[in-house]
Symmetry: C3
């Protein structure tokens, strides 16, 4: 507490003082850039703080790309049933050209797996509405939906499940679950890892962000632990990136859910480091 | 892994190979049968996978009846705030005549107890809209709502709570909670077990499916454990049926929530078996 | 069980018998009083039970004020995405003059912090709609939104975080978290305790009720524990009040979420008492 202010900033870019009026202007500019439309003058406590904190202070941070922050934020908006925020985030993602309509179609499917088919139906309706809104705003015709690529999963069920077992191990870094139990056999091996995680259209790192936001909103302790662990274990996401993810996640999912996520990130980082030093 | 394919199928009806085009046709046919209306040609990753996996592979499975799968699915849709999926599932349930409007009115009330009054208000509005939609589709007038039966709970509060204590023990297979704490006394004993679980209109097995889906979506570890245990302990639901429930549940609530449910089902099955062998 | 009925009532005002027809009339009268509009004749199982139990038996209880029950209930309605119930509760709160529009604007912001910005955007839209509905019902013009007060947080970042650390300790009764981690440093210290909890417009006790309902619906075990503990530790909320809160909370969030809340209230009460007797 008696140290000089300069030593307490958490990274090299943090300012020592913040001019509140400048911060407001920065937040409004960043909102327009990210969301593709300007924000009306903030008049309520919520909108003022959204601009001053979430847009001026959070979205401007380094370590994660804007596209990655979009994946985290829009998955949180969908998973928390924040339909108007989701609509605006999807519009911004499409308007920025940082995510294509086809990628967001894959996002809907991955989200369906982690948050359920019903919630994904709503998300897809909103995606399609925003896709139309963007073309109207640009004075363009809405192009026909691109042909959906046929799955490349083998028709031989044993080959398919063997592929699911391999993908499960490659993704999770633990042994694949036993056959014979409907949830594991027909669900996890046959479908989730036998098909979903192997699909093209999104990178594994993309799928990591989406999955982390889904399990984080879900508060499912076991899956949070396993996905935080495996993302760092496999080197898809670094510890520094994970910590930055927690902040973006907490802003969109609420600070209590961020608390378990932060604690798990720290614990699983220790586990990964300990395992590394033992091997 | 080196075993012949025939030995790896998880039950006698699983196919060894799956023709993907036939699967698509099967899924579309089953969707129309279950939902009471045809599905448009699947064009997005989500809709294609919904037909190929959820309808072709999950809804076709044995062990649970279609009506039971409906209870699990529509409770998940409601609890996850998937309002358009909920609407379509309610329409399908009414159109199939597998559930009556009166039974679904009881479902709304049981759901209110386990997921809260606010969510149930939304569910009832959607039920009523689908009830009207069905009559319009059939070119019929919407019949007046049947008279709501008067409760049969005793007016004597001590008798009512004693009845709640008895019902609590009969349903949960553990001692009833202490009097004097508002949540237990006025809530659990007086209301949840003193009235709700004793109502006619749904069987105890029906209420088990609804409750399991509610607590599963809620991620409330203690109630998941106690309801999974008591459903198997009392013989209302077998271990095989429970495992099938987890798969249907995971498809509608997301695989992370299915993970805790599957783990709990296995642990509580062991507990029930152990207790049985000791008695 | 063989004790006379008089000894089993949980508090001095509980009746020994309840006339069901009188209870229905009481519930309807109380609904109109709390919600600012009459309820239509209850015809479904849900609406009948809502009147007979939630309004006749729960809202009439002592220990908490009606305004406090409103905070708990409307936070639950928002957090569980019960949008029509939320709308009616906000209308009732404004119509009763027990909460001002400015206080509810602060409620939206506090809720944004604990349940996420997306959900709060929906809540604010509904608040504004009900604010307009109330003025229409009164035949009045909607007044312009009051000027949003400028934040009083220091522009010097080190001072701001030191203030956050102090507020964190004063609110939570545990040491403040380490600097340098984005979630703790830029989120919890800089924002949640460096700004939000220090704002005027709601008392700390008000913020306690809102926070408890948010973390309770979230099922976030750690934050439930820490907020239940600190509310009793600091003397903002007594054990008796906490137990009454659990009942109101369970009615609006569902009984399974109430179960963890009740258990935590009992455990943390024991902890607070034990610490008190040791000091």
């Amino acid at each position: 507490m008696s140290q000089p202010a300069e030593t307490t900033v958490s990274n090299g870019t943090d300012p020592v003082t913040i001019d509140h009026e400048q911060r407001r202007r920065d937040g409004l500019a960043r909102y327009a850039e990210i969301m593709g439309v300007p924000h009306p003058a903030p008049q309520s406590p919520r909108t003022a703080t959204l601009i001053d904190f979430v847009f001026a202070e959070i979205w401007s941070r380094p370590v994660l790309t804007r596209r990655e922050r979009r994946f985290i934020s829009l998955t949180c908006a969908a998973a928390t049933d924040s339909l108007s925020t989701l609509a605006d985030l999807l519009y911004g993602a499409l308007a920025s050209d940082e995510m294509s309509y086809a990628e967001l179609g894959e996002w809907v499917l991955h989200y369906a797996v982690y948050c359920g088919w019903g919630k994904a139906e709503t998300a897809e309706r909103i995606l399609d509405e925003q896709w139309q809104r963007l073309h109207r705003a640009r004075g363009e015709l809405v192009p026909p939906r691109p042909e959906h690529p046929q799955t490349t999963v083998p028709e031989d069920q044993e080959l398919r499940k063997q592929g699911g077992e391999q993908e499960f191990r490659d993704t999770n870094f633990v042994p694949s679950p036993a056959r014979g139990v409907p949830y594991y056999d027909d669900g996890i091996l046959n479908f989730v890892f036998g098909d979903m995680w192997k699909r093209p259209g999104l990178s594994r790192r993309d799928r990591r962000w989406i999955t982390l936001a889904c399990v984080g909103v879900d508060d499912t302790v076991g899956p949070i632990r396993s996905h935080v662990y495996s993302a760092m274990k496999g080197g898809d996401i670094s510890y520094e990136e994970m910590r930055e993810m927690v902040l973006q996640f907490a802003a969109y999912a609420g600070w209590p859910k961020g608390s378990l996520m932060q604690q798990t990130v720290d614990e699983e980082h220790t586990r990964v480091v300990t395992e590394g030093s033992q091997s």
